[in-house]
């Protein structure tokens, strides 16, 4: 028999599960420079996200430790001006049929968070265009994509003098799965791990930490993935405090203990219609950093 929960605590389970779903879906953002946390105190707050150019040449010591300061660190100003939310509503009947089960509340919350994250990720990845980052490092259909192509992309990144550490490779589902079919990856004796064939997970390929995402936006860019370093794009997130939090049944910040991602949660009930509204919201901004820090992968 499923464990029942009271209506007041349902919001906590849904919101915490939503944060988990949001965070798991937004994991590919690790490849970018991020600044999460804190509270948005005024509209369109600009957050300076620091990026470090690891390839900036080291100075030869010339009698002091103050020359060359600041040459390798720069700030990317990010305006936190995007406010996305997921709103779900439940009549008393719908709520009674759905939420007495704690497990159902958890599953629902996770999907709610994952849904918002996919929307946020697609918006952030809309920055990955030819106009912002130049010509593609790879152009072909998923069926032809394999680990040798990843090595070719690496060669392009090397030629662009991208730092060889902390490189990330983000691929859409079709291209990620194409790699899973590659015998050099699915064969555990060849790859050195059974992660691919067992869990459908590819930790690293050719020096890239690898992520799969369904968040690549469908647009005229034909984007299916990219290779990058952190300085390519900067992302900032802030919590937006309601004007009158006491007017809600619950209005609070959600903060992920692992990534620092912050979300807002608003839960209230409309007695006129007997409907409960749950809102998960994300306030963030995005900006292009170093154009040479990202190489696109396109299908055509």
């Amino acid at each position: 028999m499923a464990t029942t929960i009271d209506a007041a605590f349902t919001g906590d389970i849904v919101s915490q599960s939503a944060l988990r779903g949001f965070n798991d879906t937004l994991i590919p953002l690790e490849v970018f420079a991020t600044d999460y946390g804190g509270e948005l105190t005024q509209g369109n707050t600009t957050v300076n996200v620091p990026v470090y150019d690891a390839n900036s040449g080291a100075d030869t010591y010339a009698g002091s430790y103050i020359t060359g300061a600041g040459g390798s660190v720069s700030n990317i100003p990010v305006v936190v001006d995007v406010h996305k939310k997921k709103t779900v509503s439940f009549t008393d009947t719908q709520f009674a049929n759905t939420f007495p089960s704690a497990i159902k509340s958890e599953e629902f919350g996770y999907q709610m968070g994952a849904g918002l994250a996919a929307n946020v990720l697609a918006d952030i990845l809309s920055l990955v265009t030819a106009a912002n980052f130049g010509s593609a490092a790879y152009t072909d259909v998923a069926a032809n994509f394999d680990s040798d192509d990843v090595v070719d992309i690496k060669t392009v990144c090397d030629a662009a003098n991208m730092t060889k550490v902390m490189r990330g490779l983000v691929l859409s589902d079709a291209y990620y799965n194409a790699l899973l079919k590659d015998t050099s990856i699915k064969d555990a004796s060849s790859y050195g791990s059974s992660d691919g064939i067992v869990a459908g997970f590819i930790p690293n390929v050719a020096g890239f930490k690898t992520w799969q995402t369904g968040g690549v936006p469908a647009n005229a860019e034909n984007l299916v993935g990219f290779a990058c370093i952190k300085s390519a794009i900067a992302v900032a997130m802030r919590y937006l405090q309601p004007q009158s939090p006491e007017r809600y049944d619950a209005a609070n910040e959600l903060s992920d203990p692992e990534t620092g991602i912050v979300l807002g949660w608003r839960d209230h009930f409309d007695p006129n219609t007997g409907t409960r509204y749950m809102n998960l919201e994300c306030n963030y901004g995005k900006a292009v950093g170093q154009a040479a820090g990202l190489k696109r992968i396109v299908s055509a």
């Binding site: 906590d12 944060l19 704690a102 903060s255 992920d256 203990p257």
Partner: protein, 154 residues
Amino acid sequence: MQRVLRTKGNKVMNEPTIIEQLETATAQAVSSAELVTGLQANLDEAVTENATLTASVETLTAQSELLTAENAEFTATICKLTVSQTELQATVATQATALSHPAYLDAVNGADGAEESGGEGSALTMREQYKSISSPTEKSKFFRENKTAILAGE
């Protein structure tokens, strides 16, 4: 009555007669007898008092011996109580140390619950402990670490 004594030259001299001397001696003898009787009475009385005092001394001696024995018994009891008190103090100190051990507190309160609620976590359910956390990050961390118990309604 005094007899007039005649001496040479017809000098008259007053001197007691034999009878009078006997009467005086008799009176003295009677007085001495009465004195002896009084002294005997005093002596008897002193003997009686002596006997009474002797009996009292014996009684007091017995009581003193009894009190001495009781005192020894009480002293032994006090010694035992002192040892017991020392042992109890040591036991209390040992138990206090054990009860303040982090492992015990974690087991009773839950590691994060004790931290968040100032050690009063044992009196709160998991959901109540979660509700009492104010930091959004700590709240999410606690939820994940105790999700099974929270979802189970503990």
